[in-house]
């Protein structure tokens, strides 16, 4: 059995004159969770929808579990949670999940799934009367009820309250534990840090960076903190830069640098705020994709 669940090679997608995907390549290993990150309009949903078989590529290829995305053989093996919608407004939550369970030979128990996702009290409520967060969770349940090998989750926690987000994360972690491959798109850096084995950052339809969260945020020999501006901070063997009270100390890797920085602070009665010994994924993301607002 091939150990790649999803393979994207030189993928190109154009809408009229706009190029949404411009030669994107990456792959997702079996049983791993991959987070696809990118600013609005970077091409995340285009990528996912081509892999789901909803859209066709203008160039390159996508291989899903060894098949073309449109191959009917793929359908039972893949679960899909679109960014929004997808439920009959007039069907009750439990009826909708029962319907999707009936498409599969060995589905999860729908009522158990509904309880575990905290939807027990609204099982008899029509889809259209569910809150946005409840619809999201039901949609997630519809994606996994068939016990798929590979799940596509397009912004699964967008608009969820912290409890619902936690429940979604627990489910994704359980999926990974049980060997299900997950490709999720998200805007939430903490979500990617928490869940993803691999992060793929795309922008303007191209791959910008990929790797484990640890590898992407790794910044040996860098310490950042905030303090009052204009401190005369000097550390032997290290360079110090400051931007409006944000200090970056670069020097020899290791705890000695940390001790030197905190030692200086102690001597001078300075309390460093937000002291970080590695970059956050958000820093990495903003460095890679820029700080301009996207439409």
């Amino acid at each position: 059995m091939n150990d790649t669940a999803l393979e994207v090679v030189d993928l190109v997608k154009r809408y009229d004159t706009r190029t949404a995907l411009d030669g994107l390549s990456f792959d997702v290993g079996r049983g791993t969770v991959c987070a696809l990150l990118g600013p609005n309009g970077a091409g995340k949903t285009s990528t996912v929808e081509i892999a789901e078989g909803f859209r066709t590529a203008d160039g390159g290829s996508v291989t899903v579990l060894g098949h073309r995305p449109q191959d009917p053989a793929v359908r039972p093996r893949v679960g899909v949670m679109p960014q929004s919608g997808g439920g009959y407004p007039g069907l009750k939550a439990a009826e909708l999940l029962d319907l999707f369970a009936a498409f599969h030979a060995h589905p999860l128990d729908p009522s158990d799934l509904i309880e575990r996702l905290g939807l027990g009290e609204v099982a008899g409520t029509p889809f259209r009367r569910l809150s946005g967060g409840q619809q999201q969770r039901l949609s997630l349940a519809m994606a996994v009820v068939g016990r798929p090998e590979l799940v596509f989750l397009d912004e699964p926690t967008a608009g969820l309250d912290p409890q619902a987000r936690r429940a979604t994360w627990e489910l994704i972690e359980a999926l990974r534990h049980d060997g299900v491959t997950v490709l999720l798109t998200t805007h939430l850096m903490d979500e990617a840090e928490q869940l993803a084995d691999d992060v793929v950052v795309i922008d303007h339809g191209r791959l910008v960076a990929r790797g484990t969260v640890a590898a992407l945020t790794h910044s040996d020999g860098e310490i950042r903190f905030r303090a009052a501006p204009g401190l005369a901070l000097e550390i032997a063997g290290a360079t110090v830069t400051e931007t409006e009270g944000r200090y970056l100390v670069r020097g020899l890797a290791g705890p000695a640098l940390l001790a030197a920085v905190t030692g200086w602070c102690a001597t001078h009665g300075v309390m460093p705020q937000d002291l970080q010994t590695q970059r956050s994924l958000e820093d990495v993301f903003l460095d890679l994709t820029g700080r301009d607002l996207r439409s």
Partner: protein, 254 residues
């Protein structure tokens, strides 16, 4: 929120047997129709109300027993309401809400989905026909029955389903809603349901080519006079082939 038992989500993918999918989807289609008050109004309340009022209140002159004239027309209206108008509106909104797209990502084959929709329509029609016949008999209807009636119902359903799927499969939900209701109303007036086609003078021959008129006239010839109208049967067959072919080509799932 409880945690997950390790192994409980382990992959075990396999499509369900087609029969199970078909049953589940048909039940869903039927549930949606019967739960939707607009659909019930359109497919049951209006046809039955019109049948009672038109038969009992003599403001439209017809030849022969009033129930004998109106029951076949109302049967045609009922079939048009469920197979065309109801199906078009439901399909248009299902596309708009992304339901059909999402179903496309499940193991449910598209032909099973369309078959389930058809079975849902046929089940509603059965309910309509039984109620209309019972009310008709209570109003003094004396039908001539022949098995050819089934041919008219099936061809009529096929023609109107094709037209409904063509409309609902190409336009947005709201546009479909407006167009399907408008067409329903025009065909109600011009399709030999309420007014005898003879009222339209020289245009009657042309109007008989409309699917509603062909169905109402064909059913009336058969049930009132015991005559099979080959011309109407042929008109419906042509509508069925053309509409279903066009729908199959133009239908968009999103």
């Amino acid at each position: 929120m409880s945690t997950w038992t390790p192994g409980s989500l382990a992959p075990r993918p396999e499509a369900a047997p087609l029969g199970r999918m078909l049953r589940a989807q048909t039940r869903a289609e039927l549930t949606l129709t019967l739960r939707n008050s607009e659909q019930v109004l359109l497919t049951l309340v209006i046809p039955l109300g019109l049948l009672v009022v038109l038969t009992l209140v003599p403001f439209i002159a017809v030849t022969g027993r009033r129930a004998d004239f109106f029951v076949p027309g109302i049967l045609a209206l009922a079939i048009m309401s469920s197979a065309f108008t109801g199906q078009a509106i439901a399909t248009g909104f299902e596309r708009q809400y992304g339901v059909l797209k999402r179903l496309g990502a499940t193991p449910l084959p598209r032909w099973v989905l369309l078959l389930a929709k058809t079975l849902g329509v046929l089940a509603v029609e059965l309910l309509q026909l039984v109620l209309i016949c019972v009310v008709g008999l209570a109003l003094g209807w004396h039908p001539h029955g022949t098995p050819t009636v089934v041919a008219f119902v099936v061809l009529g359903t096929a023609a109107f389903s094709g037209l409904g799927l063509l409309l609902g499969g190409t336009l947005s939900g709201l546009t479909t809603l407006a167009a399907a209701n408008l067409v329903w109303f025009v065909l109600l007036l011009l399709g030999g349901v309420v007014f005898p086609l003879t009222e339209f003078g020289g245009a009657a021959d042309l109007l008989r080519l409309l699917p509603t008129a062909a169905l109402s006239n064909g059913l009336r010839q058969l049930l009132q006079h015991g005559v099979t109208s080959g011309r109407d049967l042929l008109a419906l067959a042509v509508w069925a082939v053309v509409a279903l072919t066009a729908a199959a080509r133009a239908f968009r799932w999103e």
